[in-house]
Symmetry: C2
Subunit: 446 residues, 2 copies
């Protein structure tokens, strides 16, 4: 890679050497190199690629760079790339760039292609429809293996979608699936009706993409056909798109759990400092302001604290333990829902399970805490009891709220991850303080 970078930064460019080097490289690697170069260099490099390689590389580069290239290249060059670009990659691109750039690109391609792209753009973001491509090998029921192989040979369909072929009836209804290797192994005169698999796992165009990822994992799929409400075949989602969706959805989930809004799909290093700060600051601000509530609670109990200042020293521990315990429950539930292991109707079972887990944790932590305080505070049993009891109660409250909120959020069609750790921390903090001071007041009669 250093070699080619060197070649690319010298002037004048050794175009012939570069062309032959590019021809031997993987398109994802070329795309990675283009990301390293400045605009001018990457344009020059991109222009050295043959038409179909250029389209392949284009589908791997970042939206910003894609947009830059489209704006700089000639109409003819854009047309060349776009006609070669798979439908789903073109849809991804148009979704990522400003409207006028998308419109310009659609104007460059055949009306047939732009109609197909337009239709896909109509599907909601994050749906199977927006993820699929329409370039499929369709076989009809009456074909033999020989006909099928001939259809594949002449279809010119992009290779990624050819491992599985779909059989449709005269109404375009999906009725079977047959893989390339079955065709290869079968006798040429066999009717495909006899060797196709009629037990097809398919998605509806409106299905959520997260659901799809779980289906791919459950059934070990490399591709999944997508049907419309009438059961007619409209497209196909391939596993490479699923890998990307999983990465994106997971990043979104874990970031939301710590209060980061994900406004970009760009990698960490390529996102600006201000953008990063903006993504994180909203929640930090909200949490800081809601922390005024915990402050107010403490102020309410200022008299008790004046009598027994030692109580203050336990506040961080109680709030910390509660926050951590709640975050644990939230995390397992959000993760379980993402994997399809926990569904909304499990809510009662989950709360019951988490409550029991919390009771076990509460007893163990309470005892350990009792021992520690008793030892470090000259055998003050009442103090040890007050803190330990508060701790145990806080844990139970934290875990039951922590597991309920994400499920509730999902039920209300809010992303569960946005209801995550930070919010729960605030609720739990307040509970911990109120429980602690209330018990202390009674126990010490203050």
């Amino acid at each position: 890679m250093t070699d080619i970078l060197q070649l690319l930064t010298q002037t004048p460019l050794d175009e012939n050497t570069l062309r032959s080097q590019f021809a031997e490289m993987n398109e994802a690697d070329i795309a990675e190199i283009l990301e390293y170069l400045d605009d001018e260099q990457s344009i020059a490099a991109f222009r050295l690629l043959s038409d179909d390689l250029a389209a392949d590389v284009f589908s791997y580069i970042s939206p910003d760079k894609q947009q830059m290239l489209v704006e700089v290249l000639s109409d003819d060059e854009v047309e060349g790339i776009m006609e070669e670009l798979p439908i789903d990659d073109m849809v991804d691109f148009i979704e990522d760039v400003p409207e006028d750039v998308g419109k310009y690109v659609l104007d460059q391609v055949s009306s047939e292609k732009s109609t197909m792209v337009d239709r896909l753009l109509d599907y909601p973001d994050d749906s199977a429809g927006s993820l699929m491509t329409t370039e499929i090998v369709e076989l009809s029921l009456s074909m033999t293996v020989k006909d099928a192989l001939e259809t594949i040979r002449t279809s010119g369909v992009d290779k990624e979608t050819i491992y599985t072929c779909y059989v449709i009836d005269e109404d375009r209804k999906l009725i079977g699936v047959i893989t390339a290797d079955t065709l290869v192994r079968a006798g040429l005169t066999q009717p495909i009706a006899g060797i196709m698999d009629t037990n097809v796992i398919s998605a509806n165009a409106a299905d959520d993409q997260e659901e799809l990822t779980n289906q791919f994992r459950k059934y070990d799929l490399i591709a999944m056909p997508v049907v419309n409400r009438g059961g007619q075949l409209v497209g196909i989602v391939t596993v490479d798109d699923i890998l990307r969706v999983i990465a994106e959805e997971t990043t979104e989930d874990v970031e939301k759990m710590v209060g980061i809004r994900n406004t970009t799909d760009e990698p960490y290093m390529r996102t600006g400092v201000l953008r990063h700060a903006k993504n994180r600051i909203t929640w930090l601000l909200i949490l800081m302001l809601t922390a005024a509530i915990t402050g107010a609670i403490i102020s309410t109990f200022e008299d008790s604290l004046a009598v027994l200042p030692v109580l203050v020293a336990f506040i961080p521990m109680l709030m910390g333990a509660g926050g951590n315990a709640g975050a644990q429950s939230t995390t397992v539930v959000i993760r379980g829902m993402a994997l399809g292991e926990i569904v909304i109707k499990d809510v009662v079972q989950v709360i019951w399970r988490e409550t029991r887990i919390a009771i076990v944790c509460g007893i163990v932590l309470g005892l350990a805490n009792y021992a520690r305080i008793w030892l470090m505070h000259d055998g003050d049993g009442t103090l040890a009891l007050v803190v330990s009891l508060s701790l145990a109660i806080t844990l139970v409250v934290a875990k039951s709220i922590g597991c309920t909120l994400p499920i509730l959020a999902k039920k209300m069609r809010i992303d569960p991850a946005t209801m995550a750790a930070p919010i729960i921390t605030t609720i739990v903090d307040c509970t911990a303080l109120i429980v602690f001071f209330s018990i202390a007041r009674v126990a010490f009669n203050i």
Copy 2:
């Protein structure tokens, strides 16, 4: 599914109806049904499956259930399943069960198969070698397309590994890859040397599985050949295994971030309460005990608090904001490393980036906080300044520690996620308190 569950729970079983129903179902769905049944019912149901369907279903069921079946079924039945089971699924099974069960199973299969399994078991957990299967279609350089298709037809290799065939030379060195659809489209007399792709993306058997997942995503792969140190082809990893690895690794990562040790790959609902509690309690205990440090710090400043009790009310806000800000940095860095977007040598750049992000967040939060305190505490500018300054400093410390620890952990070959949010919270809590009280002492001269 309700229908078949009903059929499975009535006595006597309507075996013929069940057999024909099973034959029409997907193996993953049958496996899911077996998980719902009690041991006796699932054994009876399993026995109704044909030999190769039984093996397919077996590879989808949970390790506990697999073990139960192997212990109950006859030697002949076990042999029947194991001979049909793909090598990699057999390896997974043996890795998951007690040693004696594994040994028993290896005794049931042909010595050829048990040797292959033994060899795979030697690879370290989480390596490409332990993930791969050895059932590959190997083509030699001198073949024509016709020879290649004939080799596929007669190989009897499991379908999942047949979409891509690998070309090796006389020393078994991997020199090219050719996909099933290229073969189908090519003329029968063409030599495969001319149409194979020599730019093969391969893994070494010792490579870490997480690295593999990033390669699959980067290059849109559905399979990846694995070579030994000599460059000889030893196996193949398929994308369905990668989907499972991603799910497992992500769950492990997010759970570790909140201090949950993951001792089981079982889904949430199928893990016992005590196991759940045990997984979570270690970290809660450690954090509770380290919270004694924050307690001790507060006690040190008890005199200052006695003079100015209002300070207490700001402790939760400072610690909370610091904890959240630190967790944000930790999370983005851990996620970035998991996706291969951040590597160890980026450490200085990452710290510099996070510090600048922290300064931006610190200024905005500090100003907002200043305004809030000034308004709510009758224009007490000194108090507002002390708290806001402490807040800004805490944010910078939190974010720079938060981003450094995971990278440091990776460098020291500890899993970055174990260094995560909970530990950072403790460090940040202490810093926040010391900074706050120190500034307050100077400002108020107490």
